[in-house]
Amino acid sequence: MRTPLVAEGNRVERLPSGALSSGDTRIRFVAAAVEIHGLQKRFGRLRALDGLDFAVEEGRIVGLLGENGAGKTTAIGCFLGLLRPSGGSARVFGEKSSRFRRVARRVGVSFENPSLHGTLSGRANLEIAWRLAGCPAGRAPEDAARLLGLESHARRRAGRYSRGLQQRLSLARALLGRPSLLVLDEPLNGLDPLGVQSVLDLLRGLRDEEGMTILVSSHDLLEFERIYDEVVLVHAGKVLAAGRLEDLLAGGDGAVEIVVDRSEEAAEWLRRHEAVQEVRRLESGAIEAALSPGAGARVNGDLVRAGFGVSAFAPRRRTLVDFYREEVGRLA
């Protein structure tokens, strides 16, 4: 049962900012483009999704992370109405996944396999997709092609495109019309570094200027870390961790990264230090240590006095790759 946010009988008015106000209570309704509750999907005996729960807020770029076979693509297939869930629910803009057609015009999708019509030109591929969608208002095929730098390739057969061009065509196809939600599965496949940068800039621009919601499933953690607002980490069909990127990447209180000579020996020495709670050696050879609050200077000094050459001693900021490895590694 839902608890009302506003007491019955109170008048509710909309403020210029878009928020709602009832007396002293200001309410900001955050609309979810995608809502997944207890989603289950079985393929015979295989449990691909096992009670998946997450939501994608409108106007955000959300990363869907997970190892191969975690259930990312299955989850996407379920809320797009391509796969029938075995249990739970999936909604897009409030519509059940079984009625995805009602909101299909608001959603642009680029699958990992572009599935282009190889015997047709790039332009024809876009035309067909646009007509299938009912010639929606907004971005026409030539506009979408221009956005992804495909004008000079538009007349060539899509079957002769390089992998990168095919990917750009798939993205252009997803941007036809005026989608409010963009669902991208491995969108950077085959793109050169300049292409990667231009796509990331494009996605950032779409979010900032058009308020577009973007859900990305990608293993390119290093690249997408620059633009994600939130991430959802999926493992074995369930959400392992989810939240704002900055919150998830914040190191634990007192976590520091130490670059020191004789790092193995130094790590052993740190494990015996009373102010050090946890020590981990990183792939780079540096040491990550969780310290007691305020013990940083003391530990640093003790290390130097113990004869170790300390090159760096600084609070650690995790990257998305670190976060992913730690969360998944913890399970192993």
Partner: protein
């Protein structure tokens, strides 16, 4: 995506007419060679070649070419139907269409409609190729015997049109059958194999079913064990008095295929609605 201009579309439009023309010309060459052999043998034995002179009328050869061409078209159209949904599912183009708001039922109906277009596009070519090929070694004229006209040209034309019409209905059902198999198959290769296997098994076994086989559309498709109306047209063109369908059989040839085509398309829609894309 298959269009009439795609490689498979072109195959469906070109191969049956070639097969029809080939049947006519090869058949003519074999007949003439056989007759020449008889004459030479008789001459060598000091007598005259016995037996009836081969007919110079083009209509029997035309009808045979037509039956062969339509039979080839039937197999290709069956394969096309079997590849349609399963092939798009495997290629990923099915989900691309669905996420753009195309309904699953609409998708299946569109496939069925294209199958109908394929049938309508293929048959005229087969008829024309057979018609032209038969005019090369033979001449068109009424079916006669000992100077008497058994079947005037108008009758042969009418019967040919009836045969083509009945074949068109049977081919529509053939495509619908392939479409249904495609909707339940896991992969396009399996769909084609299953569809061809079932079709050929029925073709081989329909003789054992007797009259009951007339309740299955495939009986009216020109085939290896041909019991289609086009097969009867061959008999009419040869002047056989017992050629043609009985009234009940003719009625079934017109009703059974379209009804079963409709049921198969509906079954394909239901299956596609329930399956994962």
């Amino acid at each position: 995506m298959r269009t009439l201009g795609s490689p498979f579309g072109r195959l469906v439009l070109l191969l049956p007419p070639l097969a029809a023309a080939g049947r006519v010309l090869v058949g003519s060459a074999v007949t003439r060679a056989g007759r020449a052999g008889e004459i030479a043998r008789a001459a060598a034995l000091g007598g005259e070649a016995a037996g009836v002179e081969a007919s110079a009328n083009a209509y029997p050869a035309f009808a045979e070419g037509l039956a062969v061409g339509v039979g080839i078209a039937a197999f290709l159209i069956l394969v096309h139907g079997a590849l349609s949904i399963a092939g798009e599912r495997e290629a990923g183009t099915l989900r691309s269409a669905l996420v753009r708001g195309v309904s699953r039922g609409g998708l299946v109906l569109g496939k069925a409609a294209f199958g109908a277009l394929l049938v309508l596009a293929a048959l005229p070519g087969v008829a024309l190729a057979s018609l032209l090929a038969a005019a090369i070694p033979y001449e068109y004229g009424p079916v006669t015997e000992q100077g008497y006209v058994i079947y005037p040209v108008s009758t042969i034309h009418l019967e040919t049109l009836r045969g083509i019409g009945a074949a068109a209905l049977a081919l529509l059902a053939t495509h619908a059958f392939g479409l249904f198999v495609s909707s339940i198959a896991r992969a396009p290769g399996g769909a084609v194999a299953a569809a061809l296997f079932l079709f050929l098994v029925f073709d081989a076994a329909k003789g054992l079913l007797g009259g009951a086989s007339e309740w299955v559309f495939a009986t009216f498709v020109p085939s290896i064990t041909d019991r289609s109306y086009l097969g009867e047209v061959v008999g009419i063109a040869r002047g056989f008095s017992d050629a043609g369908f009985e009234t009940d059989t003719w009625t079934r040839s017109l009703l059974v295929p379209p009804v079963q085509a409709l049921l198969l398309v509906l079954a394909a829609i239901v299956t596609t609605l329930r399956r994962d894309a």
